[in-house]
């Protein structure tokens, strides 16, 4: 999956919301790419554009070499089968009036994956895949099961059509850590056994550290830094990344030592209707220079695979 210069604007009475503004990144086959940002940074808009819920305002998306920058209704069915999404809130993404069996049957019917006779078997298989005993869960309704189990059902639904690419839009942020651990483990196992590629969207950097192979940081509709995970956490470049890392509440001293020191936190993410001129982060940036409020920096690759969009690095100097 390659994204080139993707833009998505929403036109409202208050003005144009530049939710996603000219972003480019790629997800390699079989990897887990982490997309991280605060709320309002445009993560979910990216997800929705990739699966075709929104039509991009500009830019192109390629999937397996084929351009897919169209809305869902115009996409080929085989594409819909291949790219699936798991939403953040399982409570509102599952139809409360349908039993779990019915929920899981729908994609099977739409994509004509199984004949009427063995559909039941496939539903059971899907439930077993997410470690829910089919006998106990098939005829239940979403309201009768817990939040973690609902998310398991949502995952099973996404996997029903044998996709190769799954967008996970904050699949665990509404859940407790103990449940989160279970779901993450399951997702990792499924990736292995089914050969899946994930675009994992989250605001939780410590979670990213443990699962992703590459991390993309978004701020206000733009990418501010891309790096391989280990590199990203050991040697963050962008001041915003440092700010994010330093605000993670740590549970041990070893963790505390890994956080960047003496970063002053201030401000909130501005409204994407009035994007500040120049670098969109300059209002909160502790290392602001004159140029930052005038010129928007371009993204440069500082070391191999590690790119950053910041004037501090625009002449490719090593950080001082």
């Amino acid at each position: 999956m390659t994204v080139e210069g993707l833009r998505k604007f929403f036109f409202t009475k208050q003005g144009t919301v530049r939710a996603v503004d000219n972003i480019s990144f790629s997800v390699k086959r079989g990897e887990i790419c982490g997309l991280v940002g605060e709320s309002g940074s445009g993560k979910t808009t990216v997800a929705h554009t990739l699966v075709g819920i929104y039509e991009p305002t500009g830019g192109r998306v390629f999937f397996k070499g084929q351009s897919i920058s169209r809305v869902f209704s115009q996409r080929a069915k085989s594409l819909k089968k291949d790219i699936r999404i798991v939403f953040q809130d399982p409570g509102s993404s599952l139809n409360p009036r349908r039993s779990i069996k019915q929920i899981l049957e729908l994609p099977l019917k739409v994509h004509r994956i199984s004949s009427n006779s063995d559909r039941m078997e496939r539903v059971k298989e899907l439930l077993r895949m997410v470690e829910l005993p089919p006998e106990d869960y098939m005829y239940k309704y979403p309201q009768a099961i817990g939040g973690g189990e609902k998310q398991m059902v949502a995952i099973a639904r996404a996997l029903a059509s044998n996709p190769s690419f799954v967008v996970l839009d904050e699949p665990t942020s509404a859940l407790d850590v103990s449940v989160q651990a279970k779901i993450i483990n399951l997702l990792m196992q499924l990736r292995q056994s089914l050969n899946l590629t994930y675009l994992f969207i989250t605001h939780d950097l410590s979670l990213m550290r443990n699962i992703a192979s590459r991390v993309v940081i978004m701020y206000l509709g733009k990418i501010s830094e891309v790096a391989p995970t280990v590199e990203f956490f050991q040697n963050p470049f962008h001041p915003y990344t440092k700010m994010l890392l330093s605000s993670i509440p740590a549970v041990s001293d070893e963790e505390e030592n890994l956080k960047p020191k003496e970063v002053i936190l201030r401000g909130e993410i501005p409204s994407p209707v009035n994007v500040p001129p120049g670098c969109s982060f300059h209002l909160r940036c502790p290392q602001k220079m004159d140029i930052c409020s005038r010129v928007d920096p371009t993204i440069v690759e500082v070391t191999k695979g590690h790119s950053v969009r910041c004037h501090l690095f625009s002449d490719r100097r090593e950080p001082t």
Binding site: V177, S178, V179, I211, I248, V251, K259, E268
Partner: protein, 327 residues
């Protein structure tokens, strides 16, 4: 340290059509004067119920306090008359809740809501009536203290016009302007982004250091609690399972539940994700007999199914409710 609040063997149930949900199952807790205490547990373990019982704002029915006592400076809150508890809430203790949009009234301006809090808390505490100007000055001052930008303009805004972080600052302002002694913060930063969370927590910490109220910080995030408190209670299914100084708890967690919980937190050091805790939080309609954690516990012994463990003393102010530590 003098005791400010003491909860003794508190039992709270909720009546439903299916029967009585036995949620709090004998909670014991002590908060000292000027002490910063944390309360940690998963969703649905009874953290908020505990706070609401202390404030006496639990809707009864369906809730029912079936046993126990809550002493506030030696007086039992549960036996107070409505007038007494009201003046306590106005002048002595206050709470910050998780969702600031739900906690603030959407049809009144921030200034209006803050004015009411300041007016009545001042009356309750000093019996003093403040003039309009005094109230306004105090509102602005307290908003500034929480780091609110442009606080004069904010007074005429409605909650919906503010961002999540700003709303929570308003709630903190209200709580601070009322609370003299006890501040209960119920997941104050759960709905916020990490950068905003860090700012709010730091500000809260500064304000607490300046005004020295006792604080009960409730959270499901162990990291937040570690940075802000001196002592921590771990709660599971309506029971306190472990209590220790914050430092000791993170260095040497003892209860199997505490250990498992700490393991499930994703770490920056990148050790991978643990398997999680098997099973789920019990049904309160028919909670397990004995220790409520035994169906999920890897060390369960026959006695765990029959008897409820008392809090065994491990060390200086470190107690744990688990038969593994019985001597």
């Amino acid at each position: 340290m003098a005791q400010l609040l003491e909860i003794k063997n508190l039992h709270v149930g909720f009546r439903t059509f299916e029967g009585e949900l036995k949620v709090l199952n004998g909670v014991d807790m002590v908060i000292g004067e000027g002490e910063k205490v944390g309360l940690v547990g998963e969703t649905g373990c009874g953290k908020t119920t505990t706070v609401k019982s202390v404030l006496r704002v639990l809707p009864t029915p369906p809730a029912r306090i079936t046993g126990g006592e809550i002493f506030y400076r030696g007086k039992d809150i549960l036996k107070m008359k409505p007038g007494e508890i009201r003046s306590l809430r106005r002048g002595e203790m206050s709470a910050i809740f998780q969702d600031p949009l739900a906690a603030l009234n959407p049809v009144f301006t921030v200034g209006h809501q803050l004015r009411d809090v300041i007016k009545y808390s001042s009356r309750a505490r000093h019996g003093k009536h403040l003039s309009k100007k005094e109230i306004r000055d105090r509102s602005i001052a307290v908003l500034k203290e929480t780091g609110m930008p442009d606080s004069e303009r904010i007074l005429s805004n409605y909650p919906v016009q503010l961002s999540g972080g700003m709303r929570q600052r308003v709630c903190i302002s209200e709580a601070l302007s009322a609370a003299a002694r006890l501040l209960m913060a119920d997941e104050p930063t759960t709905n916020l982004d990490v950068t905003i969370q860090a700012q709010i927590l730091r500000r809260l910490n500064e304000l607490v250091a300046k005004r020295r109220p006792s604080i009960l910080l409730i959270s499901h995030s162990l990291g937040v609690v570690r940075n802000l408190t001196e002592r921590v209670y771990i709660m599971y299914a309506g029971n306190i399972v472990e209590v220790a100084r914050t430092k000791d708890l993170f260095a040497d967690p003892s209860h199997p539940y505490t250990k498992a919980l700490l393991k499930t937190v994703p770490k920056l050091t990148g050790e991978g994700i643990s398997q999680g805790i098997p099973g789920r939080i019990p049904n309160y309609l028919n909670p397990p007999e004995g220790c409520r954690f035994h169906p999920r516990c890897g060390h369960a012994m026959p006695i765990c199914k029959k008897e409820r463990p008392a809090l065994f003393i491990l060390g200086d102010s470190h107690k744990v409710a688990c038969f593994l530590y019985r001597r």
